[in-house]
Amino acid sequence: MPAATRVDLLDPADVARLGGIEIVAEGVVEGFLAGLHRSPFRGFSVEFTEHRAYQPGDELRYLDWRILARSDRLFVKQFEEETNLRAMILVDASRSMAWRGAPERLTKRAYADRLAAALALILLRQRDATGLVTFDEEVRQVIPARVKAGQWTRLVRGLLDTPDGRGTAAHAALQRLTALLARRGLVVLISDLLFDRELALAALRYLRHRGHQVIVFHLMDPAEVELAGPPEVRFTDPESPASVVVRPRELARAYAETVQREVAAWRTACRRHGIAYHHVQTDLPFGMALRLLT
């Protein structure tokens, strides 16, 4: 598929206009996988370790035909783990996620839903058990990780059925999730991270401690990265009664520095605890966001 027509590389807002989440996710995944030479999650599923002599009863599909052709001896390929990965995708559904800086862009929540759907499709195609948790102040949806047919549809339905929340108390939701994720696996958090960093990190650290591999997608609208607006404006917090009157032009540079510091702080803290951190703006094509995982 030529790069110019690959859905995963198009503008997210343009892609969203193609149809519902399923169509978008499938298009993105098709394009994304076509652009890769290997599965991004190969290491998580089937890992080749050694050869051993064929014994009667072994499945013929694991025979190494190349060795047979060269030495006329029978060997089978042996893998480290042949069970599926358990992946849980955590989507922040708080009120702040329902915001966009411009009408032509997707809200952070819409972007997160589509990214989560695409990621789930990739994982399920690899036969990895994939589940979903949506949360705001509370955990709203929990779809346990399964690999059975129709799981992806259930996940998408779960995303669609989760309304926009009000506040964000992620640490409480994350603490509750630790209890749900008893078996170690992959945890992908998709959020704007507009909550207390230390409390959230404490929960994520706990997951790491339990042996989970944790990936964080930090979503931000471009308008949240570069401050703009009328000469003077009262900005209000959608999740609280707080407000502040500023002149965006005066604060733009200092604000950008603050955002950079915040992103750097998240990245440093995550790296320190072995958590993969990715800062994604909602105008980044989905394929590019997924590629961050490879």
Binding site: D192, L194, M220, E224, L227, E232, F235, P238, V244, L251
Partner: protein, 566 residues
């Protein structure tokens, strides 16, 4: 500081615009949702101090920018030490073109230097100034700058002397009456000490007196003829001038004929007498001459005298002993002869003949004497006794100041032209036709005159000149010349014109004398300093260009602060 367009200062109210805009803008800001408010709050908290300073700085810069632009539009004039324009000024330029300004010192006429300075003063004036030019003739010339420049250019040495103290006071009062910020009097004179020796100028406060200092060095030596008068067949020539002059040769001429020479000694007050050759009866004019020197104007002075036969005089009844004695002396000196052409008495008799009449000693005869005068057609009569007082006379200088203790008032219908002397402003000596009336008897009981040295010359004048209707030789200031006064076909007097003798002394006044004459605030300045001090009190430069440059700087700073501190 003043402003060319002060109304533009109303625009200073616009200086409140930045503050007002700041306040108005803060009232109703639009409200928008912004999820990462925590980042914004943190940013604002960290930048609060910087923003506060920035806002304050921008407010000050914008306010200052408006203020500076408005001030520039008002065209401010600020005091400067050199160059620049000046505030509207009332100026009198006193260009002293008195005779001494015609002196040539070191090959250069004094007037040229004064004219250059006067021209520079006038040329520096603007349309907002009021300017006058005052010359030695005492006329204050007003008008436009070009007209005054032309007047200054055409000035030549005048024959009139200028009383500088009086001129400065006049000029100071003139400029003081003008409602202008600046008031100056520029005195461009050779500052002769004789021009400042009398009087002191009363200069109002706020009037600057700038005087050009005389050139450095020794004063030019000059000799001039102070006076030339004829007496007893000889002309007496008085020579005056600056100290240090050499003995001066004096030449006397009648017409084109040289009639004598003499050498006047050095120093002031020297006089020589040159005998005149006998002349026929009538009026004669001559002139005394000096060798040419620095000041040519005072090297020549005319003189005039009258040659007439002695009057034949007789003492009438009641003339008194003093008159008799005086006539005897005059007769011995051949100033009068025997005869009855003129009779001196107390009651005129007959209807013809010239009479010098004094009041009768007996008051009972006063009525008879008055009737006799009336019978001769004399419009004067003796009246009641008058108050004592000194004699005042311009025609007969010898008697001026003599005390009169007893007199009769002279009443008459004739004009003042017949009055030859007065006491307490009342006629004392009058002439009507061939009759001369005295208010007092020429007796020591009536007046001190008979005991004074001037008595015999007075009687001489009465009988030889006054009763004949001839006036004395007058002296006046002006171009050296002689003017004769005539009555009908007769010459009855003459006036000799010449320059004031004080003009011959070219010695400049000392600074102390200048300060005493013009006031201690007067400045006596060299040419260079005079040029620098001219209008210095109100000299202003237009600062609008500097303010506009400052406005540009402020605008650039504001732009820099507004963009670089975001």
């Amino acid at each position: 500081m003043s402003f060319l367009h002060p109304l533009a200062l109303l625009g200073l109210a616009a200086a409140a615009i930045p503050a007002l805009l700041h306040l108005l803008q803060r009232r109703t800001p639009p409200e928008l949702e912004f999820p990462p408010l925590r980042y914004l709050s943190e940013t604002e908290r960290q930048s609060a101090r910087r923003l506060k300073l920035r806002h304050l700085l921008l407010l000050l810069l914008r306010t200052a920018l408006i203020v500076v632009i408005v001030l520039a539009a008002a065209r401010p004039l600020v005091p400067v030490s050199g160059g620049g324009a000046h505030e509207p000024t009332a100026l009198v330029v006193i260009l002293d073109n008195s005779p001494s300004s015609g002196a040539v010192v070191d090959g250069h006429p004094v007037l040229d230097r004064l004219r250059v300075a006067a021209r520079a003063s006038i040329a520096r004036t603007s349309a907002a100034d009021r300017v006058w030019l005052l010359l030695a003739d005492g006329v204050v010339r007003g008008g436009g700058r070009e007209a005054l420049l032309a007047s200054a250019d055409s000035v030549t040495p005048d024959w009139r002397r200028l009383d500088l103290a009086q001129a400065v006071e006049r000029a100071a009062r003139l400029v003081h009456a003008e409602p202008l910020p600046g008031r100056e009097v520029h005195v461009l004179s050779d500052l002769q000490r004789t021009a400042l020796a009398t009087g002191r100028a009363d200069v109002p406060r706020g009037v600057r007196i700038l005087s050009l200092a005389p050139p450095r060095g020794r004063a030019a030596a000059n000799r001039g003829i102070a006076s030339a008068s004829v007496a007893e067949g000889a002309v007496v020539v008085a020579v005056t001038g600056s100290d240090g002059g050499e003995p001066a040769p004096v030449t006397v001429r009648i017409g084109t004929r040289e009639v004598g020479r003499a050498l006047a000694a050095r120093g002031e007050g020297a006089a020589v007498s040159v005998t005149l050759p006998p002349q026929r009866t009538g009026w004669w004019a001559g002139e005394a001459l000096l060798e040419p020197d620095e000041l040519r104007a005072d090297d020549r002075r005319p003189f005039v005298w009258r040659v007439a036969p002695p009057a034949r005089v007789a003492a009438g009844p009641g003339s008194g002993p003093f008159i008799g004695t005086a006539l005897s002396v005059l007769r011995d000196a051949r100033r009068v002869g025997e005869g009855r052409d003129v009779i001196v008495g107390d009651v005129p008799a007959g209807s013809t003949g010239r009479w010098v009449v004094q009041p009768p000693a007996d008051p009972a005869l006063l009525g008879q004497a008055n009737r006799a005068l009336a019978a001769r057609g004399v419009p004067w009569r003796w009246s009641t006794p008058g108050t004592p007082g000194p004699l005042v006379s311009r025609d007969i200088e010898q008697i001026a100041g003599a005390q009169v203790t007893r007199r009769y008032r002279l009443e008459g219908t004739a004009g003042d032209s017949d009055v030859l002397a007065t006491v307490n402003s009342e006629p004392w000596l009058v002439r009507a036709g061939d009759v001369v009336l005295l208010g007092s008897r020429l007796d020591t009981a009536w007046t001190a005159l008979p005991a004074a040295p001037a008595f015999v010359p007075f009687v001489d004048a009465l009988v030889n000149r006054v009763v004949a209707g001839a006036a004395a030789v007058g002296v006046a200031e002006g171009t050296p010349r002689v003017e004769f006064r005539v009555r009908g076909a007769d010459t009855v007097g003459a006036t000799v014109f010449g320059l004031d003798a004080r003009e011959s002394d070219l010695t400049p006044a000392t600074p102390e004398l200048v300060a005493a004459a013009f006031g201690p605030a007067a400045l006596v300045l060299s040419d260079t300093r005079f040029a620098a001090e001219r209008f210095a009190g109100t000299r202003r430069a237009d600062a609008s260009a500097i303010l506009l440059a400052l406005a540009l700087l402020l605008a650039a700073t504001e732009l820099g602060v507004a963009t670089l501190t975001r």
